[in-house]
C-alpha cells in the first residue's frame, strides 16, 4: 500500500532531501556584514563614558526670583520623576475639562500651561529639556505644536 503510486503521487513515500546549506560562503559573508552593521553602534560606543546631563537652571526668569521662591510648581525631586505625568494630567485637565489652573501641593494656584508657564521660567529648552531627553533618547512630541519660545527670549535679552 505504501508503495502504491498513482499519477499524482498521493500515496508515494515522502522523498528524502539531503539537508545542506547551499552557497555557504555567500551566506556567511552576508551574515558577517549584517552583524558588523547591526553591532556597529554597540562596538563603537563600547567602553566610552557619556557625561551625565546637567540641566541648566540658570535663566533670567529664575535668577530674578528671590532665593526662597526659587522652586518649581512641585518639589524638584518630584518634578524630576513625574514631570511627564504632570504635563499629561495638565493636558487632559485643560483641554477636556476647561480648568486652566493647577493647585500645587503647597496650595498655590498656577496656570497649567507648558508654553505659558513652564517655558516662562525654563526658557532654555535646549539646555533644560533637550539635554536629558537626548541622553535617554526620549522624543516628546510636544514641540510639534507648542512653541518653545527660546529664540524669542534670547532675542529679548539681546543675546
Amino acid at each position: 500500500m505504501a508503495d502504491y503510486k498513482n499519477e499524482f503521487g498521493w500515496f508515494a513515500p515522502k522523498p528524502t532531501v539531503e539537508k545542506k546549506i547551499y552557497s555557504l560562503k555567500a551566506v556567511a559573508v552576508g551574515l558577517g556584514i549584517f552583524l558588523v552593521v547591526f553591532g556597529a553602534p554597540l562596538l563603537l560606543n563600547m567602553g566610552q563614558v557619556h557625561p551625565v546631563p546637567q540641566p541648566s537652571l540658570d535663566t533670567p526668569a529664575i535668577q530674578k526670583l528671590a532665593e526662597k521662591e526659587r522652586q518649581c510648581v512641585e518639589p524638584t525631586e518630584w518634578m524630576r520623576a513625574n514631570h511627564m505625568q504632570l504635563l499629561w494630567d495638565w493636558r487632559e485637565q485643560v483641554v477636556r475639562t476647561g480648568e486652566r489652573y493647577y493647585t500645587t501641593s503647597q496650595g498655590k494656584k498656577v496656570l497649567a500651561s507648558l508654553s505659558n508657564n513652564c517655558m516662562e521660567c525654563h526658557s532654555n529648552k535646549s539646555q533644560f529639556c533637550d539635554q536629558c531627553h537626548n541622553y535617554v533618547a526620549v522624543v516628546p512630541n510636544c514641540w510639534g505644536c507648542h512653541l518653545p519660545k527660546e529664540q524669542n527670549v534670547a532675542k529679548a535679552e539681546g543675546k
Binding site: V95, G98, R100
Partner: protein, 265 residues
C-alpha cells in the same frame, strides 16, 4: 457549503455587527433620539452676525484677528513666495477658522426663483456653527472632537488622528485638514498659542482660551459691533436681545444640527 461575502455582510448587518450604521437601518430614529436635547440652563454660547453692519472690510478685519491670534497658516499667500502652492492645492489645502463666502454658497437650500436683490452675492462671514447636535462629534472615532457643556464644539489636537470623518460629517465645511506642517505658512507666529502639526484637523474653537479669561472672542472684538456674542440661556444677554428684535436666518437648519450662528439680514 459556505457563505459568500454578500450573504455574510447581510447577516452581519442583521446581527448588528455593522455597528451604529446597521443599528440605524434596523431601528430608524434611534440615533436621532440619542443626540443631545437643547438645555435651558447654564451657559450656551452663540453668535449673531449683523449683516447690515458687516462690510467686506469688517469681515477681513475679523478674519485677520482670528487667524493671526491662532496661528492659522495662510496657504493662499505664504510669507515666503517659494512656498507658493498650485492653484488646485490652494483650494484643497486652505485652512480656515473663519472665512467669508457669498449667500448662494453659504445658504444652500434657501434658493428662490425670485428673491431679495440684496442677498445676491452678499458676502457672509462664516465659521464653525457650534451646533447643538454636531455631526462631527458623532462620527469622531477618538472623541478628539467633542461638545463642551457650554456648547463649544472643541478639538483635542492630542487625540486627533487625522481620519477626517469630521470633515465628511460637517455640513458647513468648517473644518480643515493640515496637509503639511503649517509653521512655514504662518507670517507671524503668536508664541502664546500652539500651532498645529501635519495630519490633524482644525477649526474655530470660539476662542475658548479667551473666554476662560473673561474676554470676548477675537472676531467679535475686531468686528466693532457687527458680531454679537453671548449666552443664549441668559434672558438679557446681547444675543437674546438681538434675536428678539430681529429676524435671523441660520445655515442649513433643515439638517437638524441646530447651528448656533445667527445672521440678521
Amino acid at each position: 457549503m459556505g457563505i459568500n461575502r454578500r450573504d455574510f455582510l447581510k447577516l452581519a448587518g442583521l446581527l448588528g455587527l455593522g455597528g451604529k450604521a446597521a443599528f440605524e437601518l434596523v431601528l430608524p430614529g434611534e440615533v436621532e433620539a440619542a443626540v443631545a436635547k437643547t438645555q435651558a440652563t447654564g451657559t450656551r454660547w452663540a453668535l449673531v452676525v449683523d449683516m447690515r453692519k458687516l462690510t467686506d472690510k469688517v469681515a477681513a478685519r475679523c478674519i485677520e484677528a482670528c487667524h493671526s491670534l491662532h496661528n492659522v497658516p495662510n496657504y493662499l499667500e505664504p510669507p515666503d513666495p517659494k512656498l507658493a502652492l498650485s492653484e488646485d492645492l490652494k483650494n484643497r489645502w486652505q485652512i480656515k477658522w473663519i472665512w467669508s463666502d457669498v449667500y448662494e454658497h453659504a445658504f444652500v437650500g434657501f434658493e428662490q426663483d425670485h428673491q431679495w436683490d440684496k442677498l445676491k452675492g452678499m458676502n457672509f462671514l462664516l465659521l464653525c456653527n457650534h451646533c447643538e447636535n454636531p455631526p462631527c462629534v458623532r462620527v469622531c472615532p477618538t472623541q478628539a472632537t467633542y461638545r463642551r457643556p457650554d456648547g463649544i464644539v472643541m478639538m483635542d489636537m492630542h487625540r486627533c488622528i487625522g481620519c477626517r470623518f469630521c470633515m465628511a460629517g460637517c455640513p458647513y465645511a468648517a473644518r480643515s485638514f493640515n496637509w503639511r506642517d503649517p509653521r512655514p505658512y504662518i507670517a507671524k507666529i503668536n508664541p502664546n498659542y500652539p500651532t498645529r502639526e501635519i495630519g490633524v484637523v482644525e477649526k474655530c474653537l470660539l476662542c475658548e482660551e479667551r473666554l476662560a479669561q473673561g474676554q470676548q472672542p477675537a472676531c467679535v472684538e475686531a468686528s466693532g459691533g457687527a458680531l454679537i456674542f453671548g449666552n443664549l440661556n441668559e434672558e438679557n444677554s446681547p444675543v437674546r436681545a438681538a434675536l428678539r428684535a430681529h429676524y435671523t436666518i441660520r445655515r442649513k437648519p433643515y439638517l437638524g444640527t441646530n447651528p448656533q450662528v445667527y445672521y440678521i439680514v
